[in-house]
Amino acid sequence: MHAMKLLVWLIPLFPALGALTNGLLGKRVTRDKAHYVAVGSVGISLVLALIVIIRVMAAPEQPIHAKAFTWIFAGSFQADMALMVDPLSAIMLFFVCGVGFLVHLYAVGYMHGDPGYWRFFTYLNLFMMSMLILVLADNYLLMFVGWEGVGLCSYLLIGFWYERPAASQAGKKAFLVNRIGDAGFMMAVFLIFWTAGSIDYETVFNQAHHGVFTTGVATAATLLLFVGAIGKSAQVPLYVWLPDAMEGPTPVSALIHAATMVTAGVYMVVRSQVLFMLAPTTMMVVAAVGAITAIFAASIGLVQTDIKRVLAYSTVSQLGYMFLACGVGAFSSGLFHVMTHAFFKGLLFLGAGSVIHAMHEEQDMRHMGGLYKHIPGTYRTMAIATLAIAGIFPFAGFWSKDEILTMAVKAGGINAFFWILGMCAAFMTSFYMFRLLFMTFYGQERFDEHHVHPHESPSVMLTPLKILAVLSLIGGIVVGIPPENGLFHRFLGHAFHHWVERHPHAFHLWPDLFLMILSTLVAFAGFFTAYSMYLSNPQERASFGGKISGAWNVLWSVVIWNRRGVDVFYTERAEGFATKYALAYDTLLNKYYVDEFYHQYVVRPIMWGMNALWVFDGTIVDGIVNGFGKFARLYSNWSGWVDRRYVDGSVNGAAELVRGGSQVFRLLQTGVVQNYLLVMALGVFVFVAIFLIAV
């Protein structure tokens, strides 16, 4: 058991050491060999994590507790530096270490030749350490340490190419918006401590189970926790940092903004499910925010032209799904989607990075096209990812997404409305993802052949893509069936059944199968729309039958990796739509003008306030300080005058007195001896007279 405790602590320790090594020695010593340290440390962590996970899978009812020492004790407040591995942490550990390792490997190829190579890996390792602390912590305070740490690394990595003003602005934006969420999180932790007397999970959840939290307090605490999640996981209204975060290198986007950091919010909600279940109002808020975010972000993604922006909005949208799941009580479905999303979104981002690399840093999809011939490996893996995210049976995304939507329907009430939003968002997701695939890889080449020679990425970049593709293919079906009762859910159920009763659902024909078929149809509808918009040629469009057969052709070409070839990509229909519905198009293209709104009504007032305070400081505060100085000078002037006039005056006056006196007496000195003799004679007479008269 002790060995296991040590192993658990070693998991975040190795990336920490890697960060330290590369950070201190990177510039001089490791330089372009920095990846050995970085990838090696994460690799070791992955191996250790697998060992730990196997142990937890063997005994899921007994989480591993590994306390290092008591960190803070102040009166009744105690916080331990302690880690815990239960089924929830084990699942998170699996894909954090797994995807983390693959991204580190990929980054070796992607960041090759960059002058800040060693710095990149330092930050990436630092991020891994923070994320692992976040996931493994056994109390809210230590989780918050990891929470802040990943926020910091996000800032450092987004602004990695800091000489680019857009990048450093984006980094600042990410950190500041995140911070707003963190304020809410902190207040939640205070409230939890105040109510339950402790901040470690086991104690708090036990207390909650025994009724220490009233509904009101639970609602307040969970709402505040959710504010933290809104900031960290980019939900409406604090999502604005995520699209800008695409300024960072693509491995960063893949790891932090798809697979790990943004899922920290979901993890936190799932971890706190005991509290959330006590507050139905919050659950509704969570589901509402999730559903609204899902459809809102998906709508923006429909018209974006930068490949990474589409994926960014897609991430925001998918995170909305995860919160929708939590909001309707299907926490394990939400976590399941977190895992499958890590696989296919990570793959999509890494693949996009591969495309960008091949196109020599071109990110605008309007300048791509026909790449399936040039970079087939990337194309194939991205095709698998696209099928997964669209939710097409039997890929990973289908299982998790469908489960969420089914649970929403089963929860009843207003959740049915959220289901409608979720379905619309699913349609949009399918549409814009296939649009991305078609625009990037199919059709004619819209770039200048003479300047750009797309080449396939090296195997250090391709291998992670292939591994993730396999996971996107089988990751859902292996652990997720039957829905709500698969290996995944039963494993996770061990973590919380002390406190929350949950009945696994049996699979019924109605409504489960019906909903499954419906969501598959919706996914296909999205595909069909994308096809008819961009790929169907005029003959096919002439008849409905033609369109169906054309779509089928394209679908097969996607599944069997385009052996048939699709050589023309039509932009006219899309442009026609854009002009016909110009208002909608412009609104979506400009992201609903949310950034402009925030700038006008939040940023500018704050900057005005900042200016006002600066003026206040300059005039009043400095005025007071200067005033003291002026007063001191005034006083010293007066003091000097007094000194000159009276003190020196007295001294001089005394001297004057002496001089005046001596002035009189010096007249006695005439130098004429006869005068002296005269005085002598007079003196003799006087004494004789006295002698004669008085004596």
């Binding site: 005439t670 130098g671 004429v672």
Partner: protein, 100 residues
Amino acid sequence: MIPLSFYLTFGVLLFVIGVIGVLTRRNVVIVLMSIELILNAVNLTLISFSHYLNDLRGQVFALFVIAVAASEAAVGLALVIALYRGKHTFNLDDVNLLKW
């Protein structure tokens, strides 16, 4: 007999004239002569008392005074000569280096 008071008065008069001469005369030599006059006045007083008291000691003392007067006059005249050599004047008003 001539009364003693006549001689004493005469002696006082001579003394006073001598003192006035010392105090007021500008010429150094006159001052020295006035000093001799003072000394002689004292001599006269001494002799008078010696005669009227039939004591010889008065006359002896007068002999001493004459001898001292002579040597003092010699020294005084040497000083005058030194003064003249330095300042080329016999005017006492000009010998006022001690003046403030």
